[in-house]
């Protein structure tokens, strides 16, 4: 056997800071089996170029897409969840929160920010599905409410990007009341005559659909997104029926009259701002 197979020095000699990790997620495989390089995917607005599959992304990516040069000021960044019910299922809620924070680097399932989009101020609240399934608890409700307050105070259009499994069970009825809280704020926004754009992304279900996601002056979505009140599994179990093809997709919702339009992510920034210019009767920005 050749000697160059033999380790000359004992043990591993590489210092920790010299170690090279294999980069994770170098490739992305879309559900139809198309493979794309991560860099290329990011350049293409996280849409798989071959089949137009819109990959699930979070607030970091949406802010990057919508705010000019990715410049924005985050609002109420420090709000974080408490465990008022001392909730415990197979795991303690406080531990779930800790784990979610460690995994995602996020404080909770929504981030709100103000910044310029095509040169004009806009407030964007964007949910992160990676944080306990984008579930809506007290923090999500409060941050959205404060974001709307900010939009009213400064007379800036409000954009909500939903991506959520629904209300957060571990805060039980407190989560439920966030539906009323955010809706009350949206009523104030509407009374102030400020445009509200609701973008429903994959997935938008449960309490989120039963409140702010469906209350936009326009409700819009991305191709193929799942949007519904009861999840498809629940509907199937409750009715015992086969679900129609394309049930609860963005296209299905548009067909039934609940979405104004579906937009490819590359056109998102342009389309949102076009609506704002049109509804505010301002010159259309280029």
């Amino acid at each position: 056997m050749s000697s160059w197979f033999k380790r000359k020095e004992k043990g591993i000699q590489t210092a920790t800071d010299q170690k090279k990790d294999t980069p994770r997620g170098l490739w992305y495989k879309s559900p139809t089996g198309k493979i794309v390089e991560s860099d290329e995917l990011a350049k293409n607005y996280y849409v798989s170029p071959e089949d137009d599959y819109h990959v699930r992304i979070g607030s970091k990516e949406y802010f990057e897409i919508l705010f000019d040069k990715n410049k924005f000021t985050e609002l109420d960044a420090k709000l974080s969840s408490k465990d008022p019910l001392k909730f415990e299922d197979t795991k303690k809620y406080v531990e779930r929160l800790k784990a979610a924070e460690a995994k995602t680097g996020l404080k909770d399932a929504v981030r709100t920010a103000v910044g310029k989009s095509l040169g004009k101020d806009v407030v964007i609240a964007c949910m992160d599905f990676s944080f306990i399934g984008g579930s809506m608890g007290s923090v999500v409700g409060e941050k959205i409410a404060r974001g709307i307050d900010y939009a009213i105070k400064k007379k800036i259009p409000f954009v909500m990007i939903s991506k959520s499994g629904g209300a957060r069970m571990m805060e039980a009825a407190l989560s439920l009341m966030q539906l009323a809280k955010t809706s009350a704020k949206l009523a104030q926004l509407a009374d102030a005559g400020i445009p509200y754009i609701s973008l429903c992304t994959d997935p938008t279900t449960g309490g989120t659909t039963a409140s702010y996601a469906m209350l936009g002056d326009i409700n819009i979505s991305e191709p193929g997104a799942l949007i519904g009140f009861a999840g498809p599994r629940v509907v199937k179990e409750a009715t015992g029926k086969e679900l129609p093809e394309g049930f609860q997709t963005a296209e299905f919702l548009q067909e039934h009259g609940f979405l104004d339009f579906i937009v490819h992510r590359r056109d998102l920034k342009k389309k949102i701002n076009l609506y704002i210019d049109l509804i505010e009767n301002n010159p259309v920005r280029g």
């Binding site: 709000l79 974080s80 019910l85 197979t90 069970m169 407190l174 949206l186 409140s211 009715t239």
Partner: protein, 317 residues
Amino acid sequence: MEYLDFELPIKELEEQLDKCMIIGEESEVDVSETCKQIEKKLAETRKEIYKNLTAWQRVQLSRHPNRPYTLDYIRAICGETFLELHGDRNVKDDKAMIGGLGKIGDQSYMFVGQQKGYNTKTRQLRNFGMANPEGYRKALRLMKSAEKFGIPVVCLIDTPGAYPGIEAEERGQGEAIARNILEMTRLKVPIIVVIIGEGASGGALGIGVGDKVLMLENTWYSVISPESCSSILWRSWEYKEIAAEALKLTATDMKKMKLIDEIVREPAGGAHANRDKTFEIVKNKISSHYEELKKLSPKELVKNRMDKYANMGVFNG
């Protein structure tokens, strides 16, 4: 009369009492003393059982087959003056959501509420109290109509949830509930909400935003039913009792968290043990709260209501 497991000692004593009275009627023996003792024991047992109910037992009571439903309340409270109104002016008349006008004393009220059935046939007709989007839109139509004429709104809540059906999704169940919630936060007339049975999630809140939200003692109100919570978080239906505790869904818990305004005590043995008294209690509560709320201007009313909901939530920072 039907009995839940934990009510069986009551059933036994009631049967003893019946027998005792029959003996008294049919024979010469004086049984009045024995009957009196059984009655006393019955009252004590009832009190004892109902004093220490678990969260799950309250959930069971909220679904008690003999518990009064929405129309029972309205008919008892308004008598001949109740005029039921139908339809959402769009798709159909949802039988799981009822509504109409009625009087308490000299005052007209607009009532809306989910309706359950009392036997197999009517349960199907009422879709087990699970409304479709047209039910929520019917409720909103009636509330807006009440607003137009300055009539206060009373919502009676008793639902295992909004119906999770294919057509419900096609017609926008989420949108219907969301629209109701938003419009109710700014409705310019007083809204009094009473949870009379089950208060399940968005299906309940879809007619549940109010100036005063009351819960009867043996009802529950939460984001999900204990059974569904158990199946999602524990991946089994077996943990419903634990889920019921964890969700803090009783009237006492809800009051403690300041998510409701008042707990309404039920007669001894629960609403089903003395329906007439229950109707009387609820009727008086509606009147007394309206007397207070009518002192506020529409502007104050809406502001207070919005502030109340804006303050709900517990967080750091």
